[in-house]
Every structure is written in C-alpha cells, then in structure tokens.
C-alpha cells in the first residue's frame, strides 16, 4: 500500500530514511489499527516459522503429521468413490470372497484383513481420524483450561492462586494411567468422555503450573502497568495482554497433550476397557483376543496400527520439541 492510494492526505509523505522500518515496507502512520496488528502478527509468524524451519526435527514431525492428516482426509473419499461399503467398512465390513480370515495383503486389501474379515487399511485410515479427533479435543480442553486458570491465578494471586495450585498438586500426584484404567473398568467410558477426562486432568494439572509461571513473568512487564494506567480493567488486561502472550506456550502444550492422549487411548483400548467403535488401540485389541498377538506370520494385524500410534505420537512430540526452541529463546542456536 503506497501513500497515493491512501485516503489520508493530511499525513505528509515522510522520506523513507527517517522511518524506523526496513526498506520496502510502507510506514505504519495513518494505517488503520487492525491492519497494523495484522502486520505485526504476520511479521512475528514469519520470524517464528523461520526459527522453526531451522530445526529439521520439527520438519520431520510436521511431515509425518501431514501424511497422517492426508490419510484421515482420504478415508471418506475412498468410502464414497472407490471402496464398496459392505466390504470395506472399518467396523461392519466383511469380504465374503476370501474363504479364510485374516488374509494376507493382496491387491484388493493392501494391508490384508483382520480376523473378522475387515479391511486393515480402511481401519487404519478410520483410526487416524479418531486419533486426530481425540488429540484435538483433549488438547483444546487442556489448553483452554490451563491458559485461563494460569492467567487468572497469576494475575489475582492470593486465595485463587492457592486453591488452583493445590488442586494442580493433587492432580499431578494421581497416577494418570492407573486412575484411567480404574475409571474405565468401573464406568462406561466412550470416546468423547476420554478426551474430556484427559483434557481436564491435563488442564488442571501440570500444564497450569507451567503456564502460570510464564504468566507471572508477563504480569510484571511494563506494558501491563501501562495498560492499567490507561484505565484498562482486570478483564481487559487478562484477555488482551496476558493471554495473548501465553499463547505460544499453550500451543506447545497442545502438542504434548496430543501425544499423551493418543497413547493413553491406545493403551486403554488395548486392555479392552473403552467403549468405542474403532481405533488403532482397538485394532491391536482385536488381534490380541483372537490370539494372533505373537504370530509374526500375521504381521499385518499388529504392525500397521502399532507403527501408526508410535509414529503419530513421536511426530507430535518432535513438533513440540521444535516449538520449544521457538518459545524458549535460551535454547536457540543464535
């Protein structure tokens, strides 16, 4: 945007040498505020992406996540256009043309069929959708709770802070895997329940403490003081000044929560404790109760799902590690 097209003739065309902006960028004077914000956001995103891209580890993780995302997106398309619903449905499909199941990989079933005659590839792709959905819900719940509580308890401190921090202590103390196993053995836990439980446990637990300590460092910065002097209320300061500065760290915690959620779901499904339709963990459970668990000649029953769990968990963890270097300047190379 140049000076000529601007509807603000009152602003004189200042010579470029005097502006503090790098060459090639128009001065921000006279621009609407939202556009300035947008530009600042764009610039910070650009620098952060550059830091992120320096680290091949994060890129490897991102590539794996993209691969799985494509798989998840491709499943509905395949079901609609390529595959016969009666044969390839991940839950109720059955291939009657093959006399004995599980059958090894063939041109019709690229990863073979499971002991119940269902297509393994279709199950794997359907399970990818389930894993992404579970991870996203759990991570969102964790981050929303942790960021809100972290910001509030850092800002107000006192009794609110004590209350939430003792609660966090209590939750950190509880053994997650064990509690979830007990809960899923006693209650009927479905997919959404599990995502919510993991999200809530994570949100009130460890993530809150870390985000709160970050919020404490934000709280004492001078722009918070300036906002208060300018007449900003508590709600305004928390929402507009503290929470946006916690976002990078929250985003980092989303990645680690996704890893944890996918792993937990797989373990609980593997023990047969969840009430869900289809997931990677359930595929392994099916293999296990059919007695093919240690039968390496039937590798297609256990390898695809296990490798998928491992790879997706590792990918999110690697991305989280790379983001850590973006968020934490002390870890950067420069």
């Amino acid at each position: 945007m140049t000076e000529i097209t601007k509807p603000t003739p009152s602003v004189p065309a200042t010579p470029q040498v005097d502006t503090p902006f790098p060459e090639g960028q128009a001065p921000l004077i006279g621009m609407p505020l939202w556009m300035v914000r947008l530009r600042l956001l764009w610039r910070s995103i650009k620098t952060n992406v550059a830091i992120f891209a320096e680290n091949p580890i994060g890129l490897i993780g991102l590539a794996i996540i993209l691969f799985f995302a494509l798989m998840a997106l491709a499943h509905p398309y395949f079901m609609q256009n390529v595959w016969n619903r009666n044969i390839y449905d991940p839950v109720i499909g059955f291939d009657a043309s093959i006399p004995f199941h599980p059958s090894p990989p063939s041109s019709a079933h690229w990863l073979g069929t499971d002991p119940l005659g269902r297509d393994v590839l279709s199950q794997l792709m359907f399970g990818t959708r389930a894993a992404f959905a579970l991870g996203t819900v759990a991570a969102l719940v964790t981050v929303i709770i942790a960021t809100t509580i972290g910001a509030i308890s850092a800002y107000y401190s006192g009794i609110v802070d004590t209350l939430f921090m003792r609660l966090a202590d209590l939750i950190i103390m509880t053994p997650t895997v064990t509690i979830l196993i007990v809960m899923s053995a006693l209650f009927d836990i479905g997919f959404l329940h599990l995502a919510l439980i993991i999200g809530i446990l994570g949100g009130f637990g460890g993530a809150t403490i870390i985000i709160k300590s970050q919020a404490l460092t934000v709280k004492v910065r001078s722009y918070i003081e300036a906002a208060r002097v300018a007449g900003g209320g508590n709600g305004h300061i928390i929402l507009r000044h503290i929470i946006p500065n916690l976002m990078p760290l929250s985003f980092l915690y989303m990645m680690f929560t996704v890893t944890g959620a996918i792993g937990l779901e797989a373990v609980l499904s593997f023990f047969g404790l969840l009430n869900i339709r289809m997931s990677w963990g359930l595929m392994i459970y099916t293999t296990s109760y059919s007695g093919y668990l240690l039968d390496m000649s039937k590798w297609w029953l256990i390898f695809p799902a296990s490798l998928a769990i491992t790879m997706l968990c590792a990918a999110f963890y690697l991305v989280g590690r790379a983001l850590d270097e973006v968020v934490n300047p002390r870890l950067r190379k420069r």
Binding site: P56, I57, I60, R166, D169, L170, I172, M173, T174, P175, T176, V177, T178, I179, I181, V182, M183, A185, L186, F187, T259, G263, A266, V267, F270, F271, I284, L293, L294, M296, I302, S306, I309, T310, M311, C313, A314, Y317, L318, R321, D324, R330, L331, K333
Partner: protein
C-alpha cells in the same frame, strides 16, 4: 528450612486426605456396589441379600461409610481382597510392591544414567547428524506404543533368540523341588543388592579423596570386590540357582524399560546443558584453556544435573503408575498387574489399597524432590 519443612509436611498431609477422598468418591460413584456381587447367586432371597448388604455396611449413608473407611485406612486397614480371598489388602501389597519397586527402580536408575550420558554429548555436538538421528530415534522409542514394543522385545529376545524367559517371575519347572519359596529368595536378593549398593556408594565417596589417576582403578577394584563378595555369598547359600532364575526373569523387562525411557532424560539433559553452556563460567573455563571434555563433564554437566535429579525423584514416585502396562506384557506379578486384575474383577478393596499406596509414594517423592532441590541449589532458599 525447618519451618518450610513443617509447612510442606502439613500441606502434604492435607493433600493426602484430599486424595483419599477423591479415590473414595471415584469408587463410590460407580454404578452398583459390592452387594451386586450377590445378585449372581439365584439361591439368595431378597431378605438374605438385605442382611448381607447390612453386614457389609452398604445400607448406611455415604458420609458414615466414608468416615468409617478413612478411619480404617489411616490405621492401615484396607480390608480383605476379594480376589485373593483370605489375605488382606495390606498383605498382598507387602508381597507385590517390592517386586515392582525392584524392577522399576533398576530400570529408572539405568535409563537416567544412559540418558544423562547421551544428553551431555548431544548438547555438546549440537546441530550434527548425530544429534538429529539420536533425537528422532530416542523420541520414537520414548513415544512408542509400549505393549507392542514389549511384545517385539519378547518375540525377538525370548522367542527367537531364546536368551531370556518369556515372562513371569520364576520358572515353575526349576522351582518345583526348591527347598525355599520364591519370596524368601527374593527378599534375600533385595537385602544383598541394597547392602552392595550402599557399600559401593560409600567406597565411591571414599575414593573421591584420592587423586585423579588413582580414582578410576580404585573404584573398579572396589566394584569387583563387592561383586565377588555377593556372588560368593549366593554360592555359599545353596539357593544361588534360584536367585539367578529371578534375576534372569528381570533382565528383559529392565532392558525394555530402559530403552523406552532414556530419551526423556536425554532430551531434558540436553536442554539444561544448552542453557548452562551459555553461562559466563563456561566461557571463562574455555579461556583458561581447560580441555573440552573437562568443561563438558565437570563444569557444564554438573550444573545441568539439577533438573535431572528432580525429574529422577519424581520418576521414582510414578514407578507404580507405569507398572501397569509393562507388568501386564511381561506377566510380572507386581503392583501394576495386581491393580489391573483387581479393577477388571471389581475387587474394590484391592483397587483402593493399590491406589492409596501409589499416591502415598508420589506424595513422599514430591516432598523429597522439593527438599533435595533446596539442598542442591544454593540459590533457592526457603524461608
């Protein structure tokens, strides 16, 4: 320091009561109750059922049951386990907990040692192909689907190579004519291991006073003497064969756990090392012309150790938590497997007992970690 300790301990007691309450609410909120176990028996009349429920105290209000339960729990009375019928919960825990603790303590110590050593080197050689491949490999192992990885280890080492037994605690064929029972041998094994490690630690502390060139050989000789003494003791008891069998069963789970867990420590060490390497004293050590190895091991790594030590203590707290998966895969009869089996057959007293025990361990470890932190880092003062 004393006041801080008192405050932390009183806080911990409060937290522990909250934890007890939480467990009680969780278990009490389940659909149905113990009384439903009698529903399966069609010979019982409704009035008999009512009498049985009254005897179990299930007809009382929730609050009264809760108070009774907490009063009993504080005295260490968690009732009788349903699935191990005549034995009390405490008795079962006393038998199973040492097995879990030995397995996971050994694995945790090993994985922290390996992880610390690897992380040290990783931070030093930042940006190389070695770092990237080790990180990706380590993270893959760290986030691996543990049941599958355990099965692969069993399949490869136990089934194909036949190096180790496939699972369980002892080999029943060997033990059929054994003069003593497994717990007897196991407890002796524990005591010897504890004495040997204490002796070694004391010897390490003593040999630290020697000068640089004598230190290494002195430690090696000390280790050799202690190991010889242990082996000699077991040979003389006559049940060494059986002790060896238990140790043999321990190797594969420990190897698996170490492989899975070392990456966490490795990455933590790497990060704290990277922060330490920016400090001024590293620069001055370089300026003095100290060799790279000495800067890495003596100046950087020691200061980077602090978060690792804390993480280690906290990891010890959760040995029972991670136990469920590993113990199920390796059929290791410890707390985790006991808890899972109890939960599956709704053996409520056993489940509660195991959970309380786990929580107690976690709480104690948190306290120890806090106090240790204050001791290790003089910059932190609790006043």
């Amino acid at each position: 320091m004393k006041r801080f300790l008192m405050r932390r301990i009183s806080q911990n007691i409060l937290t522990f009561f909250l934890f007890l309450t939480m467990i009680y609410v969780l278990v009490d909120a389940q659909p149905g109750d113990f009384g439903n176990l009698y529903l399966n028996d069609p010979r019982l009349t409704p009035s008999q059922r009512a009498v049985l429920r009254a005897r179990l105290g299930l007809d009382r209000p929730v609050l009264e049951r809760y108070v009774t339960w907490v009063a009993n729990a504080v005295q260490g009375d968690f009732g009788v386990s349903f699935s191990n019928y005549p034995r009390t919960v405490l008795n079962v825990i006393a038998e199973r907990a040492p097995r879990t603790i030995v397995l996971f303590l050994t694995a945790t110590i090993l994985s922290y040692y390996v992880g610390f050593m690897a992380g040290k080197v990783l931070a030093w050689r930042r940006g190389g192909i070695l770092e990237y491949s080790t990180t990706v490999g380590g993270v893959t192992l760290y986030t691996v689907f543990l049941p599958w990885f355990g099965l692969m280890m069993i399949w490869f080492f136990a089934f194909t190579l036949k190096l180790f037994p496939i699972g369980k605690f002892v080999d029943p064929v060997l033990w059929r004519r054994a003069p003593v029972d497994a717990n007897f041998v196991f407890h002796r094994l524990l005591i010897t291991a504890a004495i040997a490690s204490i002796l070694f630690l004391v010897w390490t502390a003593i040999s630290a006073r020697l000068n640089q060139s004598q230190r290494g050989p002195a430690r090696l000789i000390g280790l050799g003497v202690i190991l010889l003494a242990v082996v000699g003791y077991w040979l003389s008891t006559g049940v060494g064969r059986y002790a060896l069998d238990i140790v043999h069963h321990l190797v594969l789970p420990i190897l698996t756990l170490t492989l899975v867990n070392f990456a966490g420590t490795m990455l933590l060490t790497r990060n704290t090392m990277l922060e330490t390497l920016r400090e001024d004293y590293i620069m001055s050590a370089r300026a003095k012309g100290i060799s790279d190895r000495d800067i890495r091991d003596k100046h950087a790594a020691r200061n980077a150790m602090l978060p690792v030590v804390t993480a280690f203590v906290l990891a010890v707290a959760f040995v029972l938590d991670g136990g469920v998966i590993t113990e199920t895969i390796f059929s290791w009869p410890g707390m985790g497997l006991t808890l899972l089996q109890a939960a599956q057959v709704e053996d409520i007293p056993m489940v509660i007992g195991a959970l309380v025990f786990t929580g107690l361990m976690a709480l104690t470890a948190h306290l120890v970690a806090d106090v240790l932190y204050a001791f290790l880092d003089p910059r932190i003062r609790y006043s």
